[in-house]
Amino acid sequence: MESGDLGWLTVPLAVFAGAIRVSTPFLFVSLGECLTERSGRINLGLEGTLVMGAMSGYAVSYLSGSPWLGVLVAGIVGSGFGLVHALVCNLPKVNDIALGIALMLLGTGLAFFLGKNFIQPQAPNLPSIDLGWWSDIEQVRSALEINVLFLVGMALTPAIMFFLQRTKWGLILRTVGDSEDAARSLGFSVERTRMLATMAGGFLAGVGGSFLSLYYPGSWSEGLSSGQGITAVALVIFARWNPLYCFYASLLFGGAGALGPALQAVGVTSGYYLFNAAPYILTLGIMIAMSSSTRRFRGAPGELSVTR
């Protein structure tokens, strides 16, 4: 078979490749938000955290020459945003949903402000692992070029599951998320637990953001994130706060997100912008299908305001 001439087969192949490539930020944000929401709080600000992570990761990679340092700094910046969210939310009468919206705007604004000088230069990107060496076909090879962060996220999924289900800290976190009163009577600090959970969530969202600017699409621009953060937050809800389902859902969303560009590559351009909306339509559709007006979500943390 001639390489480069796959015809329509390139679409499923590109969707598969996209499922892995595009899903990575969804995966990190949703795993992070999973931790935060299991502690009984929702952080809608992860959209802003994602953009901040993308900007800071790119800037640090450009200035230091090390993309991995960029990833680390993006995570630290993200946990800083998580800290702000947690500290302000710990004040009585502050609404976590509203504060999330505020941090979404602040994060985006700060990233645009500080990132102005980094739009032009090219920063060193993250490496990928070539798993398609056995194939002669170019598209297959590029589809199997797996980025390292995806593998990290894949490894994190069972690790977070183990943490939540099998460790003492995971038990404390779930207790705080299910009942503040129970947690207090057992002597756990609700505020501190939620602070750590929100910081961890912010860290992962920041790392997810750095993937956008350091691997795919691979440069920093102001239009880099268009709702991946908020989609990932919604995704946690219908993944029923289970990290493994978060992983599957991320793959599904990555594939949906890759549909538009894949179709464009084979010459279908008419519905390009509509296909770009596929992840949002899919999210909304699944939320409609899985919600109910009469009962709560199965597996929902008891203290979570968004599902009440």
């Binding site: 302000v88 502050v94 609404n95 949903i97 985006t108 604004g109 700060l110 989609t231 909304l284 919600s291």
Partner: protein, 353 residues
Amino acid sequence: MANAGRILGALEALTIPMLALAVSMVLFGAFVMIVGVDPVEVYALMYKGAFGTSFSIQNTLLRAAPLILAALCTALPAQLGMVIIGGEGALVIGGLAAAAMAVILPGGMPVLVFQGAMVIAGMSAGGAWIGISGALRHYRGVNETISSLLMTYIAIAILNHMVFGPLRDPASLNHPSTQPIGDENMIGTIPGMDVHWGLIFGIVFCLFTYVLMYRTTFGFSARMVGGNVRAAAMSGLPVGKLLIITCVIAGSAAGLAGAIEVAAVHGAANDALIAGYGYTGILVAFLARQNPLAVIPVAILLGGIDASGGLLQRRLDLPDATVLVLQGIIFVVILASETLFGRIKFFQVKEAA
């Protein structure tokens, strides 16, 4: 005594946000100092760019007009305890519907009928857009905050699809747009000012919704739902109807903003509609404590901040995102200040006095 309580309550609702604004300005000053700009100069330029000259005041009011309407999109559902953040989407879809209506209508119609049809198309589309979020919340229990934001991204995709595809004016080469509505059909300016009628529409909409929410049975029932959904349902109020109607009114406000942006500013629908008014409107609503009357002055204030961005950019070479940073800081501080309500002794009515 009840009267004294009300006055103190109003004073509290005025003082705490003012205090929060002052704190935000100080934090913002510290931020620009860190990036190496003199904060005093920034404050002075902001004042000049927002309210300093008659030109800047008009510029401020031009931005306040869509902000007032976009803020209502968050403020009205908030009376029923809903957090709707999809104003940007309703604005975009309203603007697109208005422009599409202009394409459909035959030429040579009376101008007022033409404009009226555009406005109605925009309001209906925006109302339907947010109404969907309200209906999903009531019938399926879908969280309205997330659904309205997702709908915003879908609205933007639809706008891009139409502007680059079916509705594209072949003459718009560099900046894909719908067909121009025609100079003769543009909404004009208020006599004696350079500000279009959209500002008056916004103010009237605020007055109307204030009366609706605070002086009618509908508003009383709606706010009761906001106080306690279960109690409202038990006392026989049609909760779903109240939720959905309020969402439709809220969405039609944002849709009107979009229609006016098309009919009075841009003359066609294009990506200039995605200007972030919907997001700033959320901040306006929270700063105004979701009160439709307070929305007017707050929108003018935020419009002023928005308008001063250009001057900061030209004079101090600051990025255009500077105003976004300030808005973000104000938003976070204003929410943190919520915690002060009811905690400052001065504002509390003394017991048994």
